[in-house]
C-alpha cells in the first residue's frame, strides 16, 4: 500500500536550486556604499568641486581629507558595526527585535560617558569619554550575560529581559549624573548621547576599522554554526554545534564592536535593528550571506543619514541619532504590522 509516495527513486530531479555566495548582491551594495561615500564627502556647508580637489587646491584638500573623508568613512564603519552586531544578535537570540540597544549595550556606554561628564573628568582629561563609554558597554555586556545565564545555559528570553531591566537602570544612572553635572558639561554630554560624528578623526577610523575586521573574521569563522541557530539551539546541538561556545563568542564580539561604535559616535539607534531586516526582505538569505550584506547596507544607511543630518538645516547640524530614530521608527512599525 503506497498512498501518496509516487515516482521511483531514479526519477528526474528538479533543476537544483543552489545558492552560492551572493556575489552580485555584495558587488551591488559595495558600489552603492562607495557612491554614497563619494556623494557625502563632496556635499556640505562648503561646496567642494572634484576638479579643485584633483588640481590640488590646498583648502579643498584640507576640507576633503581632514574633515569630510574621515567623517564619512567613520559613518560607514559605524553603520557596518551596528548592522553586523544587529544581525548577529537577531540570529543568536532567534528574535527579530534583538539589537545592541535593546540588550543594554548602548545604555552601558551612555552611562560610562555620563559618569565621566558628571564628575568633571571629561573637562580635566580630554578624550576620556570614548574609553569610558567603551568600558560601560563592556560592563553592560558582562552584566546582561551573567544575569541571563542559568547553570550552563544562556536563555534568550532572559537575555532580552535582562537587557530591558539594565536599560532602565542605566537611564537612572544617566539622569542622576546629569542632575549632578555643571551646565556646560551637560550640553556636551547630551550632544554625545544623541549621536554625532562632528569631531571625527582618522585615529577613530583606524581603531574602528581594525575592530570591525577582527569582528567580521571571527563571525565568518562561526557563521556555518551560527546560521543553524535559526532552527533552535537543541537542533543546532544535535547537529554537532558547540552551542554555548558559539553563543558566547558571537555575543562578546558583537558587543565589543557595538561598544566601539557607540564610543566614537554616541548613540545612533535603529541601524542594528533595521538593516538586517531590510537586507532580509530583499535577499532572504541565511546568516552567512546576511552578515556581509548587512555590513555594507548599514554603512550606506549611516553615511546617508549623516549627510542628511548635515545638510537639512545648514549651517547647523541635526543629531544623527535622533535622525535615524525619526526615520527608523515608522519603518519599523510598518515592518511589525506586515510581519506575521
Amino acid at each position: 500500500m503506497r498512498l501518496w509516495i509516487s515516482g521511483s527513486a531514479g526519477s528526474k530531479l528538479l533543476p537544483l536550486h543552489r545558492r552560492p555566495h551572493n556575489r552580485l548582491g555584495l558587488i551591488l551594495l559595495a558600489l552603492i556604499l562607495l557612491g554614497a561615500i563619494a556623494l557625502a564627502a563632496s556635499i556640505g556647508a562648503t561646496s567642494l568641486s572634484w576638479r579643485a580637489l584633483i588640481a590640488g587646491d590646498a583648502t579643498t584638500r584640507t576640507i576633503f581629507f581632514d574633515i569630510r573623508l574621515p567623517r564619512t568613512i567613520l559613518a560607514a564603519l559605524i553603520g557596518a558595526a551596528l548592522a553586523v552586531a544587529g544581525v548577529t544578535f537577531q540570529t543568536l537570540l532567534r528574535n527579530p527585535l534583538a539589537d545592541p540597544f535593546i540588550l543594554g549595550v548602548s545604555g552601558g556606554a551612555a552611562s560610562g560617558a555620563a559618569i565621566a561628564t558628571a564628575f568633571g573628568l571629561a573637562r580635566r582629561v580630554p578624550g576620556i569619554v570614548p574609553p569610558m563609554a567603551f568600558l560601560g558597554a563592556c560592563a553592560a555586556t558582562g552584566a546582561v550575560f551573567l544575569l541571563a545565564r542559568r547553570r550552563e545555559y544562556t536563555d534568550p528570553t532572559r537575555l532580552l529581559l535582562s537587557g530591558l531591566v539594565l536599560n532602565a537602570f542605566f537611564s537612572a544612572v544617566i539622569l542622576i549624573c546629569f542632575a549632578l553635572s555643571p551646565q556646560g558639561d551637560l550640553t556636551a554630554a547630551l550632544k554625545w548621547m544623541m549621536g554625532t560624528l562632528f569631531a571625527a578623526q582618522w585615529s577613530d577610523v583606524v581603531l574602528l576599522l581594525v575592530l570591525l575586521i577582527v569582528t567580521m573574521a571571527v563571525l565568518v569563522s562561526i557563521a556555518n554554526d551560527l546560521r543553524l541557530f535559526a532552527f533552535g539551539e537543541e537542533d543546532a546541538k544535535s547537529r554537532g554545534v558547540a552551542v554555548e561556545r558559539v553563543k558566547i563568542i558571537g555575543f562578546i564580539t558583537a558587543s565589543i564592536v557595538t561598544g566601539a561604535a557607540v564610543a566614537v559616535s554616541g548613540i545612533i539607534g535603529f541601524v542594528g535593528l533595521l538593516v538586517p531586516h531590510l537586507v532580509r526582505m530583499i535577499w532572504r538569505r541565511d546568516f552567512r550571506d546576511l552578515l556581509p550584506l548587512s555590513a555594507l547596507a548599514g554603512g550606506t544607511l549611516v553615511v546617508l543619514a549623516d549627510l542628511l543630518s548635515r545638510i537639512v538645516i545648514q549651517p547647523s547640524e541635526l543629531p544623527i541619532g535622533a535622525f535615524t530614530a525619526v526615520l527608523g521608527v515608522p519603518f519599523f512599525l510598518m515592518l511589525l504590522r506586515r510581519s506575521r
Binding site: L3, G7, L16, R19, N95
Partner: protein, 255 residues
C-alpha cells in the same frame, strides 16, 4: 549499534529519566509512546546528544557518546526536535540542504552533491515539488515532510523524531506514519519516533517502547502493547479492542 545503558537524567530536583536500558540493533520503525511527562523527549534528547546523562551511558557503534565528535555523530544519528521552525522565512530547499551541515567544513558552502542529497531526501518524502516554496506558506503536513527530509538529507543510520505527528489532522497522521514505514523499508535506517497516536503506531511500527514515569515500562512488538488491560494500566485509559480491516484497534469505552 546503539545502546542505552542504565541512563538517568534529572531536571534540577525533578527526576526526568531513571535507569533506562534499551538497544537498537537493526533497521526498525520504533514507536516511543507513553503519557505526557513520562520521559519520551528526554530519552530522545539524550540519544541525540542534546542532553548528557546524569548517570549511565549511551554508546553508539561501541563508542560512548561523549567520545564522539559532534559532527561525526550528527552524520549518523539525526534528530528532529518538536518545534524546529526557523526564525525567519526560508525556502524549503534551503531548509533541507541545511541538514547537510555536519558534512561542511568551517568555511565551506553546500556543494552540488549536498543539493543532490537534499533533493533525493525531498523526493523520498514526496516534497520535491515544494522546493521553491517558503516554509511559512505551507500547511503543517507539508512542513513536517520538509523537516523529515532535512533529517534524511544527512543520510543517518538512526533517526529520532520528537512527536512528528503533533498538530496533524487525521489523514496527515496516517500519511506521515506510512511515510515513516516507507523510509525504514527503503533506506534501511532505524527510526524512533515519539507519538501519542497508538493505533497508527501499532499499525505500522515493528516495535513499541512504552515509557512510564521516567522508566521504560514495556519494550515489545505492538500486538503485545495494544491490549485493553495494558493500556488501562499504563495510560489510565479505559479502552476496548475492536477488530477492523484484519487488525485490532483500540477505541475509548464510553461509560
Amino acid at each position: 549499534m546503539l545502546e542505552v545503558a542504565e541512563v538517568s537524567y534529572r531536571y534540577g530536583e525533578v527526576e526526568g529519566l531513571s535507569g533506562v536500558t534499551v538497544t537498537l540493533d537493526r533497521p526498525q520503525l520504533v514507536a516511543l509512546v507513553g503519557p505526557n511527562g513520562s520521559g519520551k523527549s528526554t530519552l530522545l534528547k539524550l540519544v541525540a546528544r542534546v542532553l548528557a546523562p546524569a548517570s549511565g551511558e549511551v554508546r553508539f557503534e561501541g563508542k560512548r557518546l561523549r567520545d564522539w565528535d559532534g559532527k561525526e555523530y550528527a552524520k549518523r544519528v539525526g534528530y528532529l526536535p518538536q518545534d524546529p521552525d526557523p526564525t525567519f522565512p526560508m525556502r524549503a530547499i534551503d531548509v533541507v540542504v541545511s541538514g547537510r551541515a555536519p558534512f561542511l567544513g568551517r568555511f565551506e558552502r553546500e556543494s552540488d552533491a549536498d543539493y543532490e542529497a537534499a533533493a533525493k531526501a525531498m523526493e523520498l518524502c514526496d516534497a520535491l515539488h515544494l522546493a521553491d516554496r517558503y516554509l511559512d506558506e505551507m500547511s503543517g503536513g507539508e512542513r513536517k515532510r520538509i523537516f523529515l527530509a532535512r533529517v534524511l538529507a544527512a543520510t543517518p543510520a538512526v533517526i529520532l523524531l520528537d512527536e512528528p505527528l503533533a498538530a496533524l489532522d487525521l489523514s496527515h497522521v496516517q500519511q506521515f506514519s506510512l511515510l515513516l514505514r516507507d523510509v525504514v523499508d527503503r533506506t534501511h535506517c532505524t527510526v524512533v519516533y515519539a507519538t501519542h497516536d497508538l493505533n497508527w503506531a501499532a499499525a505500522y511500527c515493528d516495535r513499541m517502547l512504552v515509557m512510564q514515569r521516567g522508566t521504560l515500562a514495556i519494550d515489545a512488538p505492538p500486538a503485545e502493547v495494544m491490549r485493553p488491560d495494558t493500556i488501562r494500566e499504563l495510560f489510565g485509559f479505559d479502552a476496548a479492542a475492536v477488530e477492523a480491516g484484519g487488525r485490532s484497534w483500540l477505541v475509548p469505552r464510553v461509560p
